[in-house]
């Protein structure tokens, strides 16, 4: 599903976030990505939906070389990837329901089907009763769950989450991770970046450990 081979990423300032990173994630797998320092982890995740391009090496998603994709092809790649951001990127000028509807606006679903999917996604994350609320009225955990609902509403085969449990209490964090595990159990490939090693240990899943731009564990 996702395959990195000898990937390096240097930023224009000369800062080297990734050096020679190789790993692959099979379809249906769930893996955690942990990192000592903050930098490399977000970069690695951003390479998957082509938010950043690798300086060297290749990133394959579903067999497509993401680094070589034309600009015009990128939207179609991203539609197959559910992205959950560290800062959630919710839109506060509209309701919870409309936030989830956003990815459906440019898919080909009929309005009825789109509404059904949006409600199903909200139901999965336990926000069905909060449809009309503004995201600002939600708690931190609820906002994170809303971000997940928006990421999965198009039923992507791959789910990528950057620090989805940051700034959450243990109970909310566990609930978020449970949701990801649920998605994984129905066949979605999931990659979660987190610094919460205690939480990660509880699940007994594969852990990719990034240290100084290299993968020090879990590379396979």
């Amino acid at each position: 599903m996702v395959s990195f081979s000898a990937v390096a990423k240097r930023y224009p300032g000369g800062q080297e976030a990734l050096k020679d990173v190789s790993f692959s994630l099979e379809a249906g797998e769930l893996a955690f990505l942990t990192c000592r320092s903050g930098a490399g982890k977000s970069t690695l995740l951003k390479l998957i939906p082509a938010i950043e391009r690798p300086s060297a090496g290749s990133v394959l998603v579903n067999g497509q070389n993401v680094g070589a994709l034309k600009r015009a092809a990128i939207p179609y790649l991203r539609r197959n990837i559910g992205l959950v951001f560290q800062d959630q990127k919710l839109l506060y000028d509209r309701s919870v329901y409309d936030n989830v509807m956003l990815p459906l606006a440019f898919s080909a679903h009929a309005p009825k089907e789109a509404a059904r999917r949006a409600r199903a996604a909200l139901d999965k994350v336990g926000l069905l009763g909060r449809e009309r609320a503004n995201p600002i009225q939600l708690s931190g955990g609820e906002q994170q769950r809303l971000a997940i609902a928006r990421a999965v509403v198009n039923r992507p085969a791959l789910l990528v989450a950057d620090e989805p449990t940051a700034n959450l209490d243990a109970e909310s964090a566990a609930r978020i991770l449970d949701i990801f595990v649920d998605f994984n159990q129905v066949g979605v490939t999931v990659l979660i970046a987190t610094h919460d090693l205690a939480l990660v240990a509880r699940y007994g899943k594969r852990v990719l450990r990034l240290e100084g731009g290299h993968l020090s564990a879990g590379a396979k």
Binding site: Y76, R78, K89, L91, L102, P103, A105, F106, S107, H109
Partner: protein, 289 residues
């Protein structure tokens, strides 16, 4: 196909929601100036076209000149190679022509006798007014075409001025739209960034802004026409009183349908152009990081 149509309807309705009445009004006022000026000029043109523009001189003879002397003078004029055409207007015919003019027949009737002299109408490329005035029996020479030519020249100047004004204000329309769209893009920055992250194509993101520019132009054009129509209606109330006192039914006419439609379409096009320029300049800057 239905999905495509749905997306367009969606983009259009989001543009309608963001349409600013104030911006449309600014564009309308800007366009009303050249459109109104054009309407006024076009209304005056038929009156101007009736006037002879070829250089013509009227030679009025002394009242006591006899017909035979007048005919001799006519022969002499016709023999002159510089003169293209000569028409003799006997005083009886001049009187008849004059009584045909509305409002003057009563005046002439009141006079009792014919006050008009015999006259020649001479067409010549050269300015012979002074020379012809010295001929025996000629009382007065009047260059008919001079003021008509001046009027035509003035109309041409005004027309050029209107064209320049239209170009200038058309540019202003593009600039206003450019700025409106820029502000709109800035206020929707988060939405655009998120949309890009979750797989919206550039076309999808741009579409509402194109519609907004187009719509703003259209509405501005319609506002301009409404302003022109209102101004002409107001003006015509006074003009009709003035024209009737001259026995004329003159009114300023509204733009012909084709030209009115052209104003709206052109305004829409300029709005679209402004949106296009603004979108291509400002949307690229919003790339998710």
């Amino acid at each position: 196909m239905r999905a495509w149509l749905r997306q367009h309807v969606q983009a259009f309705s989001s543009a309608v929601k963001r349409l600013s009445v104030l911006n449309a009004l600014v564009i309308g006022i800007a366009l009303a100036l050249p459109a109104g000026g054009y309407a006024l000029l076009e209304s005056l043109r038929p009156a101007g076209a009736r006037l002879a523009l070829e250089p013509r001189l009227s030679l009025f003879l002394e009242p006591q000149v006899r017909r035979a002397d007048a005919e001799a003078l006519g022969k002499r004029l016709r023999a002159d190679p510089r003169i293209a055409a000569v028409r003799f207007v006997p005083r009886e015919e001049a009187l008849k022509e004059m009584s045909a003019v509305q409002g003057l027949s009563e005046v002439i009737g009141a006079l009792g006798r014919n006050p008009l002299p015999d006259a020649f109408v001479v067409t010549s490329k050269e300015d012979l007014a002074d020379e012809l005035a010295r001929l025996p029996g000629v009382a007065h020479v009047q260059a008919d075409a001079v003021w008509a030519r001046r009027l035509a020249a003035a109309a041409a100047v005004v027309q050029l001025g209107l064209a320049l004004l239209a170009a200038l204000l058309g540019g202003a329309l593009v600039a206003v739209t450019f700025n409106t769209i820029r502000l709109q893009i800035l206020t929707q920055r988060d939405e655009i960034e998120v949309s890009k992250l979750i797989g919206a194509t550039d076309a999808f993101i741009r579409r509402p802004f194109y519609y907004l520019g187009l719509l703003q132009g259209f509405v501005g054009g319609a506002v301009a026409l409404a302003l022109v129509a209102a101004a002409l209606a107001l003006l015509n109330r006074e003009v009709s009183v003035l024209a009737e006192s001259y026995g004329s039914a003159f009114r300023f006419a509204f733009l012909p349908a084709a030209e009115a439609a052209a104003v709206v379409l052109f305004a829409g096009f300029l709005g679209w152009l402004g949106a296009q320029l603004s979108v291509s300049r400002h949307l690229r800057a919003i790339e998710p990081r």
